[in-house]
Amino acid sequence: MQDDPVIRVVAKVLIPTIMLFALYVQFHGDYGPGGGFQAGVIFAAALVLHAVVFGLHRARQVWPMRYNLMGVSAGVLLYGGTGVWSMLAGANYLDYFALKADPKAAQHLGILLVEFGVGLTVASVMVALFFAFAGRLTHIRLVAKTAAHETAEAGKAAADNGAPARDGDAG
């Protein structure tokens, strides 16, 4: 895929479009079909397309796993935090009417925050799932290489001490 110019160009045009569409679905969810769950999945689909066309390691550079994990928890925190905010404002947990004086504006604000939290979590989770599945082969090889290296080092150290390298040989 990396060497096919047609697919590269099409993907370059399409990825930002899909991300924009995800944001449209996220913030237009009050008026039409859509919302945080759908927007998160669509946003993740754009990154899946990036990873498939340009390679997983490039996608990992664009969307680092560290920040992705932060996104996974930040969404849940934003959702829970909205509830805590309404408690601080003197109402029940997740009762948006306390957030603002005008009830409809308060509900809008609450729904916006909560949906954004859901969207953030779902997008990060889906990206994390895809990276974990698609990167499994590389992950195993990488760990195997490290383990082999460590075993070799340990074996060398053991040979220097004149001790047997394997437990089985001790019997």
Binding site: Y31, P33, F37, V125, L129, A132, F133, I140
Partner: protein, 132 residues
């Protein structure tokens, strides 16, 4: 006959459920079990959404017209979240399948069971070794 036509959705949903259920309990291949589980899941979704449908109703997005009838939004909410949770649990299932394959070299559950038994016997033989 008219009864079947009027309840068509419910009957077909149950046929779908039977297919998925059979795949989950009878097929040995774990990927096939997961797909069977997904079919089962979709049949449940379909049942909920069918229950929420009202004849002559329209999607529960307000049109501003006081005369319009809306289908019941509650099943839609329940199923919407269930779909996303469903894919998350499916991903956990696939992850376990990958690890099972790495550990046993097969994803057929009878073969995995045979390997587990063989390994158990090997362990017992090894543990019994010092006593003999």
């Amino acid at each position: 006959m008219s009864d079947i036509a009027a309840q068509w959705n419910y009957y077909v949903v149950i046929v779908l459920m039977m297919l998925g259920f059979y795949a989950v309990i009878a097929r040995g291949n774990m990927v096939k079990k997961m797909v069977g589980l997904n079919i089962f899941q979709t049949s449940v979704f379909m049942l909920y959404i069918s229950v929420g449908k009202i004849d002559g109703g329209t999607a529960p997005i307000l049109t501003g017209d006081a005369a319009s009838v809306y289908s019941n939004p509650l099943p839609h909410v329940l199923i919407l979240t269930a779909i996303v949770v469903g894919v998350a649990t499916t991903a956990v299932g696939y992850a376990l399948i990958i690890r099972i394959h790495e550990a046993y070299g097969t994803i057929e559950d009878d073969e995995v069971a045979a390997l587990v038994d063989a390994d158990q016997e090997a362990r017992e033989r090894a543990d019994a070794g010092p006593a003999s």
